[in-house]
Structure formats: structure tokens, C-alpha cells
Symmetry: C2
């Protein structure tokens, strides 16, 4: 049987942009429920300036609780060297770094050029690997950019090529940050990447990070899967919507991805009933902006 | 540029199962708004026993209004010979017939065996073609059945083979009635059908009818497109949800399919702003069970 790995991002990408501060114990309860649902990999938080992202101010405490859960691989995002050092000191299994494929989004997001980001992150990747940490390198806006529109596939693949050349043992996520990638584009980019840079060290080198903003999240996951991608980011309850676009869905929902995989005969290791429980819990967090659709379907509930 | 044809089904599949009777003038207004949005093909209603489906009792009046709209191809569903004769007499451009790929669903739906349905429908198809009408042959539950679960691909293709042999000039819709088809299954079935029975008479022979019940509607349309399907059923506003499963989405939303096609560089002929207007109108019909997600996305609204 085929299998796919879900990297659950509700605790980080799902929560980070919501207004009311989510109490640390709620975040920990969410992580525990996700773990109980069989999710064995999670983006726990971000060691970012708490003035910039107040919701992530308690990442150290949430990470500590996560590290106590058996078999859970904990990723923490680090925007810079300081964040990486904190992630390393705190014992995160994997550090996540990120830059954008488009110059304008990278400038808007981290106020520097792509090349400056890449050079800094190269040093962090190298140090993280030397320290025995796993690395996730996120390439944001790889398909569509809020400033530049559709991203040429060659531009995305150029950056994938640079990143993969750093170290064959790191995982590269080709991210649809805006949710506006098209399935044929996702298929082509992943097919090209996977053909060009095959798996090394027995692990998949590529991951897909999708959003469901325009209703294409599941279609894009299906396309990535069919092109050979085996690692998927998603958020239980489809958290991660934009607070300024009421009703706009966020990260592709873990329950939607799990259902898709289930129907395609792909094992994900999740316990379906417990995943829906976790999704319900996530969606009920005050301030949360849930997406996902499984809550409505009795047949799926009963499956 | 590639192009796809959308067959808009909100007036029939979108409305038929909702409780309150939708006034005839509302149905006609919906048809007009959909036509104004550039949709040139529509499933207007069904000549079915009004006691069985009271919502469709005014199909003749809605059809009359639809036939007055320039360039609109009007389809009417006919469950039997009586319905076909009514459709022909009323001047429908295309008659839609249907049977299920699974024995148990066909029995539950029309109280007879598949072979009995097929033989009857064969006669209707032949008479409709002799009368110069276009024909749509819908194969329901071609991927998944509420009673039998996942439908073997060979079973679906067996029925496609029988139907295509009737007449190369009819259009066959391979329908995901329950919304639980998986994209890889859709891709395989369409790829096989299109390879085995190529287009005849310069028109696509196959169509995909998808529901979004489990969030896979757009993914399945993308898979069908990639396999070569060029005709898609969808309902503005994602109407067609089940009244007994609150929040369960119905037909895949026309705005979602149109957005998918737009992002894949496929022309559909729709006017985006007017389509959203029609979707809003559809979703606001009292008793309607809307799905679709475009209403929430300002960027899509402004596109």
C-alpha cells in the first residue's frame, strides 16, 4: 500500500494570524489531540519576534509539551539565525526555514532580497545539519504571488535547484502560499522536481504546502500526489484563513487531505474519528477561522 | 487556447431536492442570470412525475423562457418515454436520460434492473436522434454507490461501452453522484474511455458530472480535464446539497470550476463578475443549500 506523510500545521500556520491570543494550554491540548489522531509530524510554532507575531510568543512552552509526546516529530519555524539557535536549544527535531520564490514577496515578508535570504539560510541549513537536526526548507509563493501573479515554473524550479544543491538530506516544500496554484501547474512542477532530483537518503525530498483559499487545495494535493509528492502540509479544521477576508479558507484541511488519501488507497496513519475530533476542537478555538468540509458530512463522520 | 464547456445544472440538480417550492419566476430569473453570465448550456428541469419531484412541476414554463434566450442550449431530463415525449413536444434541444452503473442504486432510484433501464433508454435515444434532438446519457454512481461503495472501474467502463455503442453522436456523462469519487479513479476512467472511444462527429463524447460532498469536486474536475474530458456539469453557488445533511455541499460549484479552468488557462466563455452575481442569486434562494467558496474571496471577486 502507498503511504503519505502529513505534516500537521494547525498549531503554527493555522493559528498564527488569528487575533485573540490562544491560551498556551489550548495550544497544547490541540497538539495532544492531533497526536492522539495519529499525526506524527507537526509544525508546533515559530521562534519569531513576539512583537511581530504575538500568537507565537509561547512556542517554547508548546514545543516542550510536544517533545513529551511519543513518536512525534516536532518542527519549529525559524525566520533567522536567532530563531534557529532557539529551536536547536529547545530540542526541536526539525527546523523550518523559509524564503519566497518571488523577489517582491520575499521583500515584503522579510525585507530583503531572495539572494540575501538564500545565503543566510544556507548557513543555517549547514549548521542545523551539523547539529543533527532535520531541516525543512520552505519555498513560499512558488506558484502564485500576491504581487507578481502566476510564477513561471522555471523560476520556481530554479530556486528548487539551488536549494536541493545545498544538501540532499533536507526536505524542500514547494508552497502554494496564496492558494491560487492550479493543479496542472502543481503537477508539472512536482513531476519536474522529482524527476530531476530523486529521493536521497531513503526519504522524500519534496513536500507540498497547500492552501484552500480558492477551493483548489484538495485538487492541488491530488495533483502533487499523482506527480510523486509524498509529504503534505495541512491544518486540522482548515485553520489559517485570513482575518481580513471573512470566510476565506486557509490551509488545506487535514481531514480533507486524509479523506482524499483514504479514497485513493493511500495510508496516512490517522485515526479518522479522532482526527475529526481534533478538527472540531481546532475549529472551535475562539478567533479561529476554520475551513474544511467534513464536519458537514454524516457519511464521512461515520466512516 | 484550450476550452471547456460548462453545462450548468443549478436549475435542475441544484434545485430539485430543496424543500420550499421555488416560484417559477425565480427559476426563470436564475436561468436568465446564468445565461447573462455567458453560460450557453443548461439543464433546465425534468419532465418527471410532479408528485415524485414537486420542485420540477413547472419545468415546461421554465423551459419556454429558456428557449427564448439566444444561443442557449436547453437540456431537459426525462426519466422515461413519457418525459421524453414531453421534452420533444416542448422543443428542448437536448434530452437527458439516466441510469445507474450499480444494480442496487438503479433499483432504488427507478425501481428496475439496469438492463431494463438500458433497453428502454436505448429506444428513447434512438427516437430522440431520429427526431433531431441532442442526447445526454447520464451514467449515475459510476465511481461510488451509496449501497455498494466504490464501483470497480471495469463495471463503469462496461456500461460506458454499451452506451457508446448505441450511437456515436450522443454525449455520455460519467457521473460522480455521491461526490465520493477519487481523483485518480476519475483520471483512469476518463483516460480509458477517451482512449477507447475517441470523439466522433467533432464533439466530445464524454462529460463529467461531479459533486463536492466530500470536498473532492474540484480535484475530480481537474483530474477529468487532465484525462481529456472537455464537458463539465456544475451548479452556480454549489447548489444541490442534501437537505438531510446540513452544510453538506452539493454539485461542484460553477464558480469553482470556472476558476479552476481560468487558472489552468482554459476558456469557458463565462463573464466572471456576472457568474458570481448569478451564484449569489442562486445561493440566496429560500431553501437553497449553497456550497462554493468564491463568495468569501475578495481577490476572486475583483478578478
Amino acid at each position: 500500500m502507498h503511504s503519505a506523510e502529513i505534516s500537521e500545521v494547525a498549531p503554527r500556520d493555522g493559528l498564527q494570524s488569528i487575533g485573540p491570543f490562544v491560551p498556551t494550554e489550548t495550544k497544547i491540548a490541540l497538539v495532544r489531540k492531533l497526536h492522539a489522531a495519529g499525526l506524527r509530524r507537526m509544525e508546533i510554532g515559530s521562534f519569531v519576534n513576539p512583537k511581530a507575531v504575538p500568537q507565537m510568543a509561547d512556542t517554547a512552552a508548546v514545543l516542550e509539551a510536544a517533545l513529551a509526546l511519543p513518536g512525534l516529530e516536532a518542527t519549529v519555524l525559524a525566520p533567522n539565525r536567532r530563531g534557529f539557535e532557539m529551536a536547536k536549544a529547545a530540542g526541536a527535531h526539525r527546523v523550518g526555514v523559509f524564503m519566497s520564490v518571488t523577489e517582491s514577496h520575499n521583500k515584503a515578508n522579510v525585507n530583503r532580497s531572495r539572494m540575501d535570504s538564500f545565503l543566510d539560510l544556507s548557513g543555517i541549513v549547514s549548521d542545523a545539519r551539523a547539529a543533527g537536526m532535520k531541516v525543512r526548507f520552505n519555498l513560499s509563493c512558488a506558484f502564485h504571488c500576491p504581487f507578481e501573479g502566476v510564477v513561471p515554473e522555471e523560476e520556481a524550479l530554479d530556486w528548487v535547484e539551488r536549494v536541493q544543491a545545498l544538501d540532499q538530506g533536507i526536505e524542500i516544500s514547494i508552497c502554494d502560499t496564496t492558494g491560487n496554484a492550479a493543479p496542472d501547474q502543481v503537477r508539472r512542477v512536482f513531476a519536474h522536481a522529482i524527476r530531476s532530483w530523486p529521493d536521497a537518503e531513503g526519504k522524500p525530498r519534496f513536500a507540498f504546502h497547500g492552501h484552500d483559499t480558492y477551493g483548489m487545495g484538495v485538487a492541488n494535493c491530488a495533483a502533487a500526489w499523482e506527480a510523486g509528492c509524498r509529504v503534505f502540509d495541512s491544518a486540522a479544521g482548515g485553520l489559517g484563513g485570513c482575518p481580513f477576508a471573512p470566510g476565506a479558507t486557509g490551509n488545506v484541511a487535514t481531514e480533507d487531505v486524509a479523506w482524499l488519501m483514504r479514497r485513493m488507497g493511500v495510508a496516512t496513519g490517522v485515526d479518522w474519528a479522532k482526527l475529526l475530533e481534533a478538527a472540531d476542537f481546532a475549529a472551535a478555538i475562539p478567533g479561529a477561522l476554520p475551513g474544511g468540509r467534513m464536519r458537514a458530512v454524516p457519511a464521512a463522520r461515520a466512516a
